[in-house]
Symmetry: C2
Subunit: 133 residues, 2 copies
Amino acid sequence: MKGAPVQRRRTRQRAAIRAVLESARRPLSIGEVLESARRSVPRLGIATVYRTVGALVEEGFLSQVEIGGEAPRYEISGRAHHHHFRCRRCHRVFEMDGCLPDVRRLAPAGFVVEDHEILLSGLCPDCAAPRRG
Amino acid sequence: MKGAPVQRRRTRQRAAIRAVLESARRPLSIGEVLESARRSVPRLGIATVYRTVGALVEEGFLSQVEIGGEAPRYEISGRAHHHHFRCRRCHRVFEMDGCLPDVRRLAPAGFVVEDHEILLSGLCPDCAAPRRG
DNA sequence: ATAGGTGCAAACAGTTTGCATGTAT
DNA sequence: ATACATGCAAACTGTTTGCACCTAT
């Protein structure tokens, strides 16, 4: 077991990983973060991505988005309440603003609703668009 | 790649696996199915469970229930459309009948909604009850 | 008799960990 | 100088596949 480090350092790897997640408009998987961050740090290792993303989740900078049985994705914390849409073809996950005011009415009497998630799935605009060429 | 078999056979393994899932009152994970089914077929292999459950999902007998980042679970299909409530204290998952008619309006223009899932979480009646300990 | 099924072990894929080396402080 | 971070590879865990043997039809 390795205790948490006493201090954090600024490294190219961490800067790249943060930048990728900050500029993303949708939650990213570890693989997506790795691929994007390697554009600025080519030799970036996947273990570093796991460790860095894990640390960012622990410090509250990132939120983990668990969708179905798929690999967890990560997005910047503190955004407005929103839900997600998963494309069954390209498997990307998109954010959808807004919510349904009466979700908690689904719960039968006696249940205390504290949180909820709504996940839509189908085809994203890119995959639904008729392709030509 | 192995093509789907032309016909299905009745075997002790499949009977056991089906029986376990039919008598369950909650969605079961692969491990839970294996453990239960081994009571009637001790040498049952996990690969057979994966293959059989997978086949049952494909033929529509079972539905895969994916909740959060947890291992997928399987339940008998054909029940009325419903969603789930997960108790954060006892971790049980309950079914909630009904739905919200306007869920798919959450999706921005251009997205083709084919399916959706709603997961509420909080405390179930047992865990919300004032009696403690 | 034979297509199909099973169990085992090996192969895979995603994630975590150990360690020697590299680097921010 | 030194504690922390990185990259690589090995270790793990959960799932899938190849294959020789078995069995329902």
